[in-house]
Symmetry: C2
Subunit: 262 residues, 2 copies
Amino acid sequence: MSQEKPLILVTNDDGITAPGIRHLIEVMNELGEVVVVAPEGAMSGQGHAITINNTLFLDEVKIDNGPQKEFKTNGTPVDCVKLAVDQVLPRKPDLLVSGINHGSNSSINIIYSGTMSAAVEGGIEGIPSIGFSLTTYKWDADFTAAKHFVRLIAKEVLKNNDNLPQPFILNVNIPYLPLEEIKGIRVGRQANAKWIESFDRRVNPHGREYFWLTGEFVNFDQGMDTDEYALQNGYVSVVPVQVDMTNYKLMEKLKNWKLEDE
Amino acid sequence: MSQEKPLILVTNDDGITAPGIRHLIEVMNELGEVVVVAPEGAMSGQGHAITINNTLFLDEVKIDNGPQKEFKTNGTPVDCVKLAVDQVLPRKPDLLVSGINHGSNSSINIIYSGTMSAAVEGGIEGIPSIGFSLTTYKWDADFTAAKHFVRLIAKEVLKNNDNLPQPFILNVNIPYLPLEEIKGIRVGRQANAKWIESFDRRVNPHGREYFWLTGEFVNFDQGMDTDEYALQNGYVSVVPVQVDMTNYKLMEKLKNWKLEDE
C-alpha cells in the first residue's frame, strides 16, 4: 500500500440509510478515504443479481456531516460495486467493506445475501473485500461491539494489503452480544446448513392466492470449526470465501461415468 | 430410484415461454413425469436472488399439448425451486433441470446466472440438479444438438440416481455447433475468468443520466481442463458444482494472522 490514505469502498444491501452502513462508514472514516455506493432501498436476498434488463441511476447524496463521498443507486449490491469501479472511483480501492448487515450471513446464507455478493464481486474485481453482519434484525441494534471488531479486522486486512492472495474475501459474522461477552475471533468454514422453506399462503382482497417466503434455518453440521459453532459460542466468525464453485471431488468421480457419446 | 416414472422438475431464467425451456420440457417428457415451475418473464442475471420483501403468485398454465403440469410465478428462478418443493410437488423430485439457457453460463457466469442458481438451490434441497446452457443468445437457435446432449446427460444422472453424492449439481454448457461438429463431452473445472464492465452512460428525455450495464468477458485461464477450453474446442462442458464457498487455502493462512483481540 502506498503512503497515501487507503481508498475504501463501502456498500451494503439494506440501503444507504440503514443504521448498519452508517456505523460502518463511521469506522471506515477513521481508516481511510471513504466512497459509498449503495442501494437507495432494501436489497436483502438479492444474491448475486445484476441489472441487465433495466437501466441504473447513480446520484450523489449527502446524508450526514462525515467526510465521505456518497452515491445511491437503484441497482443491486453487485451493481453498486460494478458502478463504483467503472464510474465513481479514481483507482482500484484498497478495501471494499459491505454491511454491517442487519442479520446473520453465516453458513448457506452467503449464497442468498446481497451483502456477501457485493463482497464476492469485490473479490472477483481483485479488491480485498469483507462482508460484515450482525446477528440481529433489530433496526436500532447496539453496534458498539460490532464496530470494535469491524475496526480490528479491517485494520488487519489493510496492514497486510500488499501480501494478499486473490481473491481475498471474508465473511465476518458478529454475535449480537455486549463487547465484554464476546470471546474473540474464530477463523473457520461455512457450516453445512440450509433453510427449510414453508410458504405462508394467503388470499388477496381480489381473491387471488399469494405467498410469502418464510422458513426455518437448520444446521446439519456438528463440526466445531464452523461459523455456526463460533457464533453459538460467543465468537466472531471469519470465513474466507472463494469464487471457484467447482466440486473437485465430484469432478474426479464423474470422470468414471460413461458421458462420452458412444 | 423406484419403479415408478422419475419425477422431474423443470425451471429456467429466460421465462416459461422461452424456446430453451420448451425444448427442455420436450426432452424431459421422454424421461419421466414433468412438472414445470418457471418465471413468467425474463429473470436473467438474477443470481441467487430470492423474494423476501414482496409476495409471490403461482398460477397453473397450459402452454402446449404436452403431458407436463406447468406453473408460472412472478418470482426468481430460486423462488421457483422453493415454491415447487414446498407447494407444488407431491414428493422430492428425482431430477431438477434448469434451462436450456439462451447464452453461456460457463466460468464466473455461474455466479450471476439465474439458470445455475436454480440448479444450485436444487442441490441445496438434496435434488440431483443440472443447469443446461447453449452458447448463443439467438432466440430462434437450433436446439437439435443441445437436445441430444441434454437427453444423454439427464439419462445418465437418472441411471445413477441412487448413488449420487450430495450436493449433486452440474453446470452443462453446450457449444452452438451442428451435432456432427461437437467432439464429445468434457468434465472439467470453472475457468478463472471475469467480466470487465463498462457502463454505457446515457441521458434520458428528462435530462437525467442513466446507465446500461455492458462488459467484456476475459479469460485469464490457460488450463486445458476448464469449461472455457472445452467450449472453445468444440466439446460440451460439464462442471460439477459445490455450495461450500469456504476458501480452505486462505483459511489456513488466516490462522497465522493476529486476529485475536490481544
